[in-house]
Amino acid sequence: MRYIEQQAVVKRMNGRLIANSIFKYVFLAATLVALVALVILLYRIISQGMGHLSIEFLTNFASRFPEKAGIKAALVGSLWLMLVVAPTSIILGVGSAIYLEEYAKQNRITTFIRMNISNLAGVPSVVFGLLGLTIFVRAMALGNSILAAGFTMSLLILPVIVVASQEAIRSVPGELRDASFGMGATKWQTIVKIILPAAIPGILTGSILALSRAIGETAPLIVIGVPVIIQFLPAGVMDTFTALPMQIYDWSSRPQPEFQNVAAAGIMVLMAVLLFMNSIAVIIRNKFDKRY
């Protein structure tokens, strides 16, 4: 006896084919909703901000007058911030990932640590701001300097970098480790010569995406007490500063309607920076990507 009746199959075929094409359009619609929202957002920002975007906008300091307001201090401040955040978070993050993946024994404690690193990545950024305020600004007396903000941002994105680096290191095939150890290489030689070169695209992509999150974060900076109106450029990491999202936040909360346009221009600058960083991540991934 046959379990599958040919006639019943044909009878059901129509419904299956309809469902098949319906779901195609459901998923297409889901994609379009996101795309349309993005296009509207971009259109609004560009149409508002385009008029304000000029060389002077990039080279002027903040001002009470919308037509004179510029983003110089914030742009330079954000770059300074990255100068602190990038080395701190990448060194600590990749170091922890190497330790957890290559050295740590597999036991309950390391499993617990791993799990909580992933959880940390989900902690709201304002909480990290409070942590930074307590430790760096007050306890270590760094004030609202670039260093204090940089350390806070590093803590914020550290879990993301650790998790991304762990994934990248884990995806290096075990056979490559075996081959290296089998020739008498030490663990450190194996890590430096085999594992890190193979994992570097994943590590850098994850790190740059994490950095672009840091450059757009506002909440921790507000909590730390980073000022908005600054009429000078920082000379070192101990100076106070302001950052792009702070400046945008300030402009968009001002009563004069012209400042909305200034804020839109600021958003365009921030997005350009983000786009630039993300494209670096893509280039690195394509350039270093190796197959096994």
């Binding site: 081959a179 290296s180 150890f181 089998g182 020739m183 008498g184 290489a185 030490t186 010569k193 085999i194």
Partner: protein, 269 residues
């Protein structure tokens, strides 16, 4: 398959008394956690011979091979007792550096596992980690190793290409060349042809015959004809024990244990 006709093309009359043992295994036991994987192994492996280890899956043959260069310790929760003397020295001694052992004992793995680097850098990897920086010396080592693995002619114009750009059989010979580049004394091979096509397999087998002049080779294989073709001695493992260890001719023509006979005649395994 009831009988296996052993045809060994290059078997010279072996005089055992003139040869020295590279490995003497005495009462080796090994546990993965609570799983007793190797039980009271006693084996003496001679230099400049090909020793084959055969047995069904899970019998401990790969485990034993990986114990010989202590790669097995990469598995967490491994415990051992007993001793393995390599050239008279117990490899489990606390002052025996595992890196030192592995420069004397090369390994070729089941699946070709070249590094995602150029062919040249693959071969030069071993010498470099042991501190050789001179480009001229490295060049010579690379050529010598590739010639030793009988692949020089095929890749000499492509040394800077990625090792993944060549075929699987060539990759495996690159891996053999890479093992030769550290100038080992012993080469361990863990089913080196199981992922290769018949022609590549034949090339690797011929190579093994060639290499035993200069190296002692211990090869784990699933393929009994292969063991019969290329080895001088064969050890039959079953459930973590050595059932029989003898000249390959004897094992395949006149085994003394019923279980060996059953296995090589294909009645189980």
């Amino acid at each position: 398959m009831t009988t296996i006709i052993t045809e060994k093309t290059t078997t010279e009359e072996v005089n055992d008394s003139a040869k020295k043992a590279v490995y003497e295994t005495n009462q080796l036991n090994l546990w993965y956690g609570s799983n007793h994987a190797l039980k009271n192994i006693d084996l003496e492996i001679m230099e400049n011979e090909v020793t084959a280890i055969i047995g069904p899956s899970g019998c401990g043959k790969s485990t034993y091979l990986k114990t010989l260069n202590r790669m097995v310790e990469l598995v967490p929760s491994v415990k051992t007792s007993g001793e393995i003397l390599y050239r008279g020295r117990n490899i489990f001694d606390h002052d025996y550096g595992v890196e030192e052992l592995r420069t004397r004992v090369g390994m070729v793995f089941q699946k070709p596992n070249p590094f995602p680097k150029s062919i040249y850098d693959n071969i030069a990897y071993g010498p470099r980690i042991h501190g050789i920086k001179n480009k001229k010396i490295l060049d010579e080592i690379v050529e010598k190793s590739l010639r030793g693995a009988a692949i020089w002619e095929e890749v000499k114009d492509r040394l800077n290409e990625n090792a993944y750009s060549i075929s699987g059989g060539q990759q495996q010979r690159i891996c053999i060349a890479r093992a030769l580049a550290i100038e080992p004394d012993v080469i361990l091979m863990d089913e080196p042809t199981s992922a290769l096509d018949p022609i590549s397999t034949l090339k690797v087998e011929e190579l093994v015959q060639e290499l035993k002049k200069d190296y002692s080779i211990i090869i784990v294989t699933h393929n009994m004809q292969q063991a019969a073709r290329i080895s001088d001695k064969t050890a039959f493992f079953l459930n973590g024990e050595v059932i029989e260890y003898d000249q390959t001719d004897t094992i395949f023509s006149n085994p003394s244990d019923k279980r060996t006979e059953d296995y090589i005649s294909g009645r189980f395994g």
